[in-house]
C-alpha cells in the first residue's frame, strides 16, 4: 500500500502529537515522583534522629580474667556482641570500664571497635582487684553538630586480679625443641671428648684463611681484621672474636702484622683479650702490641671512611670482614678490592651478604660464620656443638616434611606449634 503525500503529513502530525502528549504525561509523573521523594527526604532526618536516639542493647556474657602467660599487669576481658551490633550502625563500639569497687566509680580502661569481642587492659596493678563493665555505645552528631554518645546498660563483672605467671605455656614447644637441640649438642660434645671422630665438611671460605694469612706473610704486608659495627651484645660479633683468635694465632706464628680497627669500646677490650690469648698460645706474647687493636669511632660511616683511608694508604694484603655489617659493607669491600687485597667476609646480615659475595674472594654465608670457629679450632667441644646443631636442623626438616603432608591432606595444621603467639 502506498501512502499519498497529504496522508503521510497527517499521520506524521498525529504521531508527533501523540509523542508530545506522552512526553508531557511522563514529565508530570516524574515531577510528582520527585515531589514525593523530596517529601520523603525531608522526613528522613527526623526518622534518623529518632532511630539514633535509642541506646543500643547491652553486650552479654562479660568475663574478665587475668591475662594468661604474661608477666602481670594485664586483665583480659571478653563479651558477646550486643544484639544491635549487626553492622547496621546501631553500635559504634564498646567502652570497657574499670573500677576498684563494684559500685564504682568506673573509669574508661579503653575502647573496642564494633564487632570486637575482647579487650586487654594492660594498665592494671597486680596488688589491686578490679571490676569491669562493658557498655555498647552509639555516637552521632546532633543538630548542632555536637558529638553525642549513648551507652547501653551494663552488668558489672569481677573481681579480678592480674598476676604474673612463671611459665609461658605458649612457648612450651620452644622449650621442647630447645631441649632437643641442647641435648643433641651435649651428647655430641661428650662423644667428641671421648675421642669419636666428627666429620665437618669443607667450607671454602674458612679453608682460605690459611692461604690469606700466608699470602700476607709472603708479601710482607698487613692483615686487616674488621669485626663489624655491632657491640658485644651481638652474636655475630662474638663469633667474629672467636675467629679473630684463630687468625691472630696464625698471624703470630707467621710473624705477620694483624691490625684490628674497631668501632665499639667493648669490642676493643674483647678483641685485645682474644689477641693476647692467641699470641700467648703460640708462645709469642711479647710480639703483641696494644696498637694492633685500636678504636676509630662509633659512627657507622665515620668508621667506614677511616677504614677506607687506611686500606688505600697501607694496602693490606688480606682483609677479613667478620661480624655484623650494614650499609658500609660494599664501601669497605669495594675499597679492599680496589687495592688487590684477598678478602674473606662472613656475616649473617641477609641484606649485606650479596655485596660481600660480589666484592670478596670468599664469603661465609650466615651460619657458616658461626661454624667457622669450630672448623678452624677443631676443638672437640665446638665440633660436637656443630654436630648437635645439625641434628636440630635434621629434626626441623623432618617436621617441615611431615607438617606439609599433614596440612595437604587436611589432617592437622602442625604450624600452630611453631608460630609464636
Amino acid at each position: 500500500m502506498r501512502l499519498s503525500s497529504p496522508n503521510l503529513t497527517h499521520n506524521c502530525l498525529k504521531i508527533a502529537l501523540f509523542t508530545l502528549s506522552l512526553l508531557l504525561i511522563s514529565l508530570n509523573v516524574s515531577t510528582a515522583q520527585d515531589a514525593e521523594t523530596a517529601v520523603d527526604t525531608a522526613a528522613a532526618p527526623e526518622q534518623a534522629a529518632d532511630s539514633v536516639n535509642i541506646a543500643p542493647l547491652p553486650a552479654s556474657n562479660i568475663k574478665a580474667i587475668d591475662l594468661p602467660n604474661d608477666n602481670g599487669g594485664a586483665v583480659f576481658i571478653s563479651w558477646e556482641l550486643s544484639p544491635d551490633d549487626d553492622g547496621n550502625g546501631k553500635v559504634s563500639g564498646y567502652l570497657v570500664q574499670r573500677s576498684e569497687s563494684k559500685d564504682g566509680p568506673f573509669e574508661t580502661a579503653g575502647k573496642a571497635v564494633r564487632g570486637a569481642t575482647k579487650f586487654t587492659d594492660n594498665k592494671t596493678n597486680d596488688d589491686k582487684i578490679y571490676f569491669y563493665k562493658v557498655e555498647a555505645y552509639l555516637e552521632y552528631l546532633d543538630a548542632a553538630g555536637e558529638k553525642v554518645r549513648i551507652t547501653s546498660a551494663a552488668t558489672v563483672t569481677g573481681p579480678v586480679q592480674s598476676s604474673a605467671q612463671w611459665f609461658n605455656m605458649n612457648r612450651l614447644y620452644v622449650l621442647l625443641f630447645l631441649l632437643f637441640v641442647a641435648g643433641a649438642i651435649m651428647f655430641y660434645i661428650e662423644k667428641a671428648k671421648k675421642g669419636d671422630e666428627i666429620y665437618i665438611r669443607k667450607i671454602a671460605g674458612i679453608d682460605a684463611v690459611d692461604e690469606a694469612v700466608g699470602r700476607a706473610t709472603e708479601m710482607g704486608k698487613k692483615i686487616f681484621y674488621i669485626p663489624g659495627i655491632q657491640d658485644m651484645n651481638d652474636v655475630q660479633t662474638i663469633a667474629s672474636i672467636a675467629i679473630l683468635g684463630r687468625v691472630a694465632q696464625m698471624a703470630a706464628e707467621y710473624d705477620t702484622w694483624l691490625e684490628v680497627p674497631v668501632s665499639k669500646s667493648m669490642v676493643l677490650v674483647t678483641a685485645r683479650e682474644a689477641m693476647k690469648e692467641a699470641y700467648t698460645k703460640v708462645g709469642r706474647p711479647d710480639a703483641l702490641q696494644d696498637s694492633q687493636v685500636h678504636y676509630l669511632t662509633d659512627d657507622q660511616f665515620g668508621y667506614a671512611a677511616a677504614i677506607d683511608g687506611m686500606i688505600v694508604r697501607e694496602k693490606p694484603a688480606t682483609i677479613f670482614y667478620m661480624g655484623a655489617f650494614f650499609a658500609e659493607s660494599l664501601i669497605l669491600a669495594e675499597t679492599g678490592n680496589s687495592v688487590g687485597a684477598i678478602q674473606i667476609a662472613g656475616t649473617a646480615m641477609p641484606a649485606q651478604l650479596p655485596f660481600f659475595v660480589a666484592a670478596c674472594d670468599y664469603t661465609l654465608i650466615g651460619e657458616e660464620l658461626f661454624a667457622a670457629s669450630a672448623y678452624l679450632s677443631r676443638e672437640p667441644r665446638q665440633l660436637g656443638s656443630l654436630k648437635g646443631q645439625d641434628m636440630g636442623k635434621g629434626l626441623f626438616i623432618l617436621c617441615i616434611i611431615v607438617g606439609v603432608i599433614l596440612a595437604t591432606l587436611n589432617i592437622w595444621d602442625m604450624s600452630v606449634i611453631f608460630v609464636s603467639r
Binding site: M232, V269, D299, D390, S420
Partner: protein, 214 residues
C-alpha cells in the same frame, strides 16, 4: 649562618666524593674531621645517656634510687682495671658477664624468630585452591612449592657434619642456587635504595647549594 653550614656541608660532601678519584689531602682532612667529630659526639652521647641520665639521675639523685644500677656501675669500673697491670685480669669478669648474658638472652629470641617461626610459616597446604571457585590456583601452588623446596634445600646446604655428595650434595646444590637468586634480588633492591641516597646528596649539591635545581 645557614648559608655557612650549607657551604661546609657541600665542601665536606665533595671532599668525601673525591675519594672516587683517589686518596687526596681533601679526603684525608674530611676523614679526620668525620672520625674525630663523630667519636667526640658519641662519647658525649654515651656519657650523657648512660652515666648521667641513667646512672647519676637514677641511682644517685633520684628520690627512690634504683640500687641495681650500682651493679652496672661497678662492673663498668672493673673494666678500668685494665689500666693497672697487676689487677688487669679483673676486667675479664664484666666481659665474661656480657658475653655470657648476651648469648643466653639471645638464645630464645633467635631460636623463635630464626627457626620456629620460619618453620611454622613454611608448613602449609601445598595445593592452594581459589577461595571463590574452589579450583586449584596454579600460581599460588607453584609459589608454595618453590618456598618449600627452597627452605628444605637451603637447610641441607647448611649441614656441616655430612659430606655434600650424592642426593644430599645435589639438594645442597639446589640450596646454593636458591641462595644466589635471593642474593641477586637483594643486591638489586639494595643498590636501588643506595641510588636514592646518592640522588639525595646530588639534590643537596645542585639544589640547596648551587640553586640549579628548584
Amino acid at each position: 649562618m645557614e648559608t655557612v653550614s650549607i657551604w661546609i656541608a657541600a665542601i665536606l660532601t665533595l671532599g668525601i666524593f673525591s675519594f672516587l678519584y683517589k686518596d687526596n689531602p681533601l679526603y684525608k682532612a674530611c676523614e679526620a674531621l668525620f672520625v674525630g667529630v663523630s667519636a667526640a659526639y658519641w662519647a658525649i652521647v654515651f656519657y650523657f645517656d648512660n652515666i648521667y641520665k641513667k646512672f647519676y639521675e637514677g641511682a644517685v639523685t633520684a628520690e627512690e634510687p634504683d640500687y641495681f644500677l650500682w651493679i652496672g656501675a661497678i662492673l663498668g669500673l672493673l673494666f678500668l682495671t685494665r689500666l693497672i697491670p697487676n689487677i688487669g685480669w679483673v676486667s675479664r669478669w664484666p666481659m665474661a658477664l656480657i658475653v655470657g648474658a648476651t648469648a643466653g638472652l639471645w638464645m630464645v629470641g633467635y631460636f623463635v624468630s630464626n627457626a620456629m617461626n620460619q618453620i611454622g610459616n613454611t608448613i602449609s597446604n601445598i595445593i592452594v585452591r581459589d577461595a571463590a571457585t574452589g579450583f586449584i590456583a596454579w600460581g599460588e601452588t607453584f609459589g608454595t612449592l618453590v618456598i618449600l623446596v627452597g627452605v628444605l634445600s637451603g637447610l641441607v646446604y647448611f649441614f656441616f657434619s655430612k659430606e655434600h655428595k650424592g642426593v644430599f650434595g645435589a639438594t645442597a646444590k639446589v640450596g646454593t642456587w636458591f641462595l644466589m637468586v635471593t642474593f641477586g634480588a637483594s643486591f638489586g633492591y639494595t643498590v636501588m635504595s643506595r641510588m636514592s641516597l646518592l640522588i639525595g646528596r646530588v639534590d643537596f649539591l645542585l639544589g640547596d647549594w648551587l640553586h640549579i635545581l628548584r
